[in-house]
């Protein structure tokens, strides 16, 4: 007897999709809970955690931002294997602005985000025409090369890096700045990608030639998406510079490229929430596994493989489906 799985929307989802959702608390809660949990979680957790786990939360938020940036790019058809490029450029911009020109950190952050985004976009502008895996290879190679250029030319402190960079005013500013940036980016860019503008970006990913046929300049849109995503990652880089009070060659390290991809793949690519879920799972996990040192990267690698092979849709899509639909086996007629 052949069976297949049937998926039906829950009654509450159907009702809550309409204006009648406002009639009952239960339905309003059904709609609000998935949004309120992350917002309240990120806003309240800093108050209850101790110093160590506050730092972990901070890097969860930072990697979530990097993963969101990766996902925005991926949704526009550009898969980056080198988030470290954007991260590193932002970090160096902020480091140089503060260290050499004496900018106050709160001014250097937005400046470095824009400057880093602009530099990254200019860096990749010549290869915007490349598709698929060719674009990815370019993004993989540029950060590797920048590390060696800095090593060879000894600019910006060379192998030593720049240390003693001014920190942010207080611990609470530091924490709520990154958490606020994460929530703003998560909900803001979700809205942006659901708008007509985002539709064009997603169409470029699905079929770039038919978007050209529709008379849309895809290079202009791709450049914009690149600027948005790389500014976001550059902001994260600039922020981490002020947290560590140091910027050096490690900002181009493989970690900053691999972990965001792992987070987005584990959480579920295609929705920015998935990227956040991935970071919320992977970063604390890697803290717990800190005792095993270098073995962490082995686990990231395996995580990537297992999720790509076994659950390519990611955790977020899986949970979303369970939340909205009931599943049952039915006999095939």
């Amino acid at each position: 007897m052949e069976r297949r799985k049937e998926r039906i929307d829950r009654g509450i989802k159907v009702r809550a999709g309409d204006v009648f959702a406002l009639c009952s608390w239960r339905e309003m809660l059904y709609l609000l809970a998935p949004r309120l949990i992350p917002v309240l979680g990120f806003l309240l957790l800093p108050l209850v955690l101790d110093n160590y786990w506050q730092k972990v939360l901070l890097s969860v938020a930072a990697f979530a931002l990097l993963a969101i940036s990766w996902d925005i790019l991926a949704q526009s058809g550009m898969v980056s294997l080198g988030q470290a490029l954007f991260f590193g450029l932002g970090a160096y911009c902020s480091g140089v602005l503060t260290h050499t020109f004496g900018c106050p950190p709160l001014l250097a952050l937005p400046a470095a985000a824009l400057l880093g985004g602009l530099l990254s976009t200019l860096c990749l502008l010549p290869v915007l025409r490349l598709r698929g895996v060719y674009f990815s290879m370019v993004t993989l190679i540029i950060p590797l090369m920048l590390v060696r250029v800095i090593e060879a030319t000894k600019i910006f402190g060379g192998t030593e890096g720049l240390s003693g960079i001014a920190p942010l005013p207080s611990k609470w500013v530091e924490l709520y700045l990154i958490v606020g940036a994460l929530l703003a980016a998560l909900f803001g860019f979700r809205r942006l990608l659901d708008s007509d503008y985002g539709l064009v970006l997603k169409a470029i990913k699905d079929n770039d030639r038919s978007v050209i046929n529709a008379g849309i300049n895809i290079y202009w849109f791709k450049a914009q998406a690149l600027f948005i995503a790389s500014s976001l990652a550059a902001l994260t880089g600039a922020y981490m510079t002020h947290v560590y009070m140091f910027v050096g060659m490690p900002v181009f390290a493989l970690d900053y490229s691999i972990l965001p991809i792992a987070a987005a793949v584990v959480g579920g690519p295609g929705t920015l929430a998935g990227a956040t879920v991935g970071a919320v799972i992977l970063v604390p996990l890697s803290e717990v596994l800190r005792g095993i040192g270098g073995l962490r990267i082995v686990f990231y690698g395996l995580f990537l493989v297992v999720f790509i092979v076994a659950l390519p849709e990611g955790i977020f899509h899986y949970i979303q489906r369970k939340y909205h639909q009931v599943e049952r086996w039915v006999e095939v007629q």
Partner: protein
């Protein structure tokens, strides 16, 4: 000085050609991404080292055992991972890169770093050409490079299996209608590519020592040779090896060794930016850029 640089440029090109040939067979000729290539190279090197030094196997047996083991590992990787994501180029890249990362970092974690981790040279001697000392191992590598490149060219042009490799890269569905079982062929291709990586490790590792970071470098160099030469072209491998090989030695001698790696990375970027199918590749222009 100049003669020495030219001779070493030549030998370096041969080393590059040997390093890249397996990657070229898998990625260039049959179009299957195997970004765990560097990891396979290092894996076979450590395996040979362990068998030879710790278990006291005879050299020939240890080397052939580790080459076969690497080929088996490649086939398993294809069967259990790559097969599931076949056709999605980026998932292929990320999955194989993840495997490579896991293998290399595992060795890194286990602490296999140091000068004692190296394989023996076959003939520990050298000859003088002009006033440059050239050791026999490098001459052996040059010979192996010549043999492999000619072999690869003949293999992909005159044997059924080699033609099938090129067929699945050109058009998988048409290949299927001609009775080429693309999954089996791709598995053989990945496995052979890994075997060639192991062979390369056997002859190249004696020049230095085994270290996990070498794995990333091998991958980048193989990628450079493959991309610059052009996907699907054997002649391209030779030209690209010479270009990078000489460029590296000359920057090494006349600029500074810091710039050596930058040269090959910059070369990849330039070629990808202007002619993504490489100097001699002619495949699929519209899939590369738009």
């Amino acid at each position: 000085m100049l003669l020495g640089t030219i001779i070493y440029g030549l030998l370096n090109s041969a080393v590059l050609a040997v390093m890249a040939i397996g990657f070229n067979l898998t990625f260039g000729i049959s179009g299957v991404a195997n970004f765990a290539y560097g990891a396979m190279y290092i894996f076979s090197a450590y395996l040979s080292w362990t068998l030879f030094n710790l278990l006291d196997w005879p050299y020939g047996l240890a080397v052939s055992a580790s080459i076969s083991a690497t080929m088996a590992l490649g086939a398993l990787m294809y069967r259990f991972v790559l097969l599931r994501v076949r056709g999605q180029a980026l998932s292929e890249v990320i999955a194989t890169f993840g495997i490579g990362l896991a293998i290399l970092e595992l060795f890194h974690y286990l602490g296999f770093v140091g000068f004692e981790y190296t394989l023996p040279v076959l003939i520990d001697d050298g000859i003088m050409i002009g006033d440059t000392m050239v050791d026999w191992q490098r001459i052996l590598i040059t010979g192996v490079a010549g043999l492999l490149v000619t072999g690869l060219w003949a293999f992909t042009h005159y044997t059924r299996l080699g033609l099938a490799f090129r067929g699945i890269a050109q058009d998988e569905r048409t290949a299927l209608t001609l009775g080429i079982e693309s999954d089996r062929i791709a598995m053989i291709s990945v496995s052979l590519g890994c075997g060639l990586a192991a062979l390369a490790a056997t002859v190249i590792i004696p020049l230095g020592s085994i270290s996990p970071s070498e794995g990333y470098e091998v991958l980048i160099k193989a990628l450079a040779v493959c991309i610059i030469g052009g996907l699907g072209s054997t002649g391209g491998v030779i030209v690209a090896s010479f270009l990078i090989g000489f460029a590296e030695r000359f920057t090494d001698t006349y600029v500074s060794s810091h710039w050596t790696m930058i040269v090959s990375l910059a070369a990849i970027l330039l070629v990808l930016g202007f002619k993504p199918s490489g100097l001699f590749g002619r495949q699929k222009e519209l899939e590369e850029r738009i």
